[in-house]
């Protein structure tokens, strides 16, 4: 690292960059908490006494509790086969994992309506058997899984590729089976990256709006998640309540970012070795 001198040019660039970040990122955040507390702390907490809002918090947690573990298993499996083996069309597989990143969230919801909706492929059959997927929890879970599928895999693949295969090979040669190798050798090596992936996946699962909105049907107190409840309250001229719910999700985002920064600052020995 060469020595830094604080020339005028540097100070101007630093100030400009900080101004950009404050205006673009910090101000919206300030608005969320400011508006949430605009009518005082009592009004803030009374928002969470409302039945529908509480129900939206509960539904958000339920969806994340189903989605995140499934995407975690997928992410570990995908990272294992991509990072530890060479095979044909691997590049294609990695591109497939990335697909949800480039699909508009609205389309991520729409595809499940086309599969399971009343006018969808399986719609008539599902209705005949009394199974509800669209405008119900299963559809919302599916749409959330679609959107958040790549996060754990994306975090683990580069990490596991960088770690190579020697340690696992040694374990196997010494007689450990696949599970044991994974639990005792691989998992300790990837634990921080895994945790980062899970945190990001969870934040996105709890915050997904577009995809879930399409399949939810917006039934008050039943199929509204927190992001949808924000829309409902905001459009219903209950801005303070909308921002109170938003403040919880903003807090989750901040905690996730701080945790991610701390995990990435783990000493190289603990993280990558």
């Amino acid at each position: 690292m060469r020595k830094e001198r604080w020339t005028i040019g540097r100070i101007v660039l630093l100030a400009a960059a900080l101004l950009v970040l404050v205006v673009m990122l910090v101000l919206p955040l300030v608005v969320v908490f400011g508006e949430a507390l605009a009518k005082g702390i009592g009004a803030y907490f009374s928002t969470f006494g409302q039945r529908d809002t509480l129900a939206s918090v509960r539904l958000t947690f339920i969806i994340a509790l189903i989605t995140v573990p499934l995407n975690l298993v997928f992410g570990v499996a995908a990272a294992w086969c991509v990072a530890k083996f060479e095979f044909r069309l691997k590049g294609l597989l990695v591109s497939l994992i990335d697909i949800p990143f480039s699909v508009s969230p609205v389309i991520s919801g729409l595809v499940y309506v086309l599969m399971f909706g009343l006018q969808g492929w399986l719609g008539p059959w599902l209705q005949a058997h009394g199974i509800k997927i669209i405008f119900a929890l299963p559809g919302m879970v599916l749409a959330t899984i679609f959107v958040t599928m790549p996060f754990v895999a994306r975090e683990l693949i580069p990490l596991m590729e960088a770690q190579g295969t020697e340690e696992e090979e040694a374990a196997v040669v010494l007689g450990a089976n696949g599970w044991r190798t994974f639990w005792r050798v691989t998992l300790p090596n990837i634990r921080w990256g895994l945790l980062t992936g899970v945190l990001i996946c969870n934040a996105r699962a709890m915050g997904e709006f577009g995809a879930v909105s399409v399949v939810s049907g917006h039934i008050r107190g039943l199929t509204n998640t927190m992001p949808l409840q924000i829309e409902l309250l905001y459009d219903g001229y209950q801005a303070q309540a909308a921002f109170a719910v938003a403040s919880l999700l903003a807090l989750l985002a901040l905690v996730t970012l701080v945790a991610k920064a701390l995990l990435e600052a783990q000493p190289v020995g603990a993280r990558d070795a």
């Binding site: 660039l13 630093l14 955040l29 083996f85 508009s104 609205v106 915050g207 905001y234 985002a253």
Partner: protein
């Protein structure tokens, strides 16, 4: 073959393919098949009516302008984060990812309040006679918010990897700082800049949650393409929604292919350099 001692290839590849197939590929193919089965005339009518064309235009140009703005703002932020050490740098670095972690509906209501006539930024722009919220300009503001991290996060690592000696050499040969930037640094970071731009642009094209609140959604004026999908679905016009979605999806995949080839070009340049 990189390794054939480590077990679990078949199992993990199987899980990965099954999951991607069920969650992503089959639902997406439902969309493609439904769109293909519509018949040419019906598809054109639904996907390219004047109102829909206006929405594509708005999404396209707003995403383009927002990504272009992010090209400069993102480079500035990446530069400062990669080159300068200052108190709180880690915190500033962490906040850059906020648009990734903050739910889009939270960003949507916050930006709307901030840029509405009575909001802090809205009042500021109001003095200049510019209306932001509920105009196409608001759409651009939301897309700029959502796209900023893409440019920063692609350019920052490249800037960090550039050897200080390269610049010192240029300077010692008599190059001015600007010439050094233009002739030495810019060619190195250009592929990353273009990748980041393309990712921000693609994200803007499909963005829904953060835009719909601030846009006002006036048909033909500030109505984005993903919103029209939702509108069609609410009118029980599944075919109409499918046609528009097929067009947006095709555009997204063209963008994805472009980004992938850019990244390959990027890697080749680095391998060569």
């Amino acid at each position: 073959m990189k390794s054939n001692v480590i077990p679990g290839f078949g199992t993990t590849l199987g899980i990965t393919l099954l999951y991607i197939g069920l969650v992503v590929l089959i639902p997406l193919s439902a969309l493609v098949i439904r769109a293909a089965g519509m018949g040419w005339d019906a598809f054109i009518m639904a996907a390219f009516s004047p109102r829909v064309l206006a929405a594509y235009r708005l999404s396209f140009f707003s995403a383009l302008i927002a990504a272009t703005a992010n090209l400069f703002l993102g480079l500035l932020v990446a530069w400062v984060l990669a080159r300068y050490t200052f108190p709180g740098r880690r915190l500033v670095d962490a906040i850059v990812d906020l648009p990734f972690a903050l739910p889009t509906s939270v960003a949507g209501v916050a930006l709307t309040t901030l840029y509405a006539t009575h909001g802090t930024m809205g009042a500021l722009f109001g003095h200049l006679g510019i209306k932001v919220a509920y105009t196409p300009l608001g759409v651009i503001v939301a897309m700029a918010f959502i796209g900023l991290p893409f440019v920063v996060r692609t350019v920052q690592p490249v800037l960090q990897d550039i050897d200080a000696e390269v610049e010192d050499a240029a300077a010692s040969l008599g190059a001015t700082r600007f010439t050094t930037f233009r002739r030495v640094l810019l060619p190195i970071i250009l592929p990353a800049l273009i990748s980041g731009f393309a990712m921000a642009f693609a994200r803007g094209l499909g963005e829904y949650g953060s835009v719909i609140f601030i846009a006002g959604n006036f048909p033909g004026v500030s109505e984005i393409a993903p919103l029209l999908i939702v509108t069609r679905l609410e009118q029980f016009d599944t075919a109409g929604a499918t046609a528009i979605a097929a067009v947006i999806l095709a555009a997204a995949f063209i963008m994805l292919l472009t980004i992938n080839s850019l990244q390959k070009w990027h890697q080749r340049r680095f391998a060569a350099g």
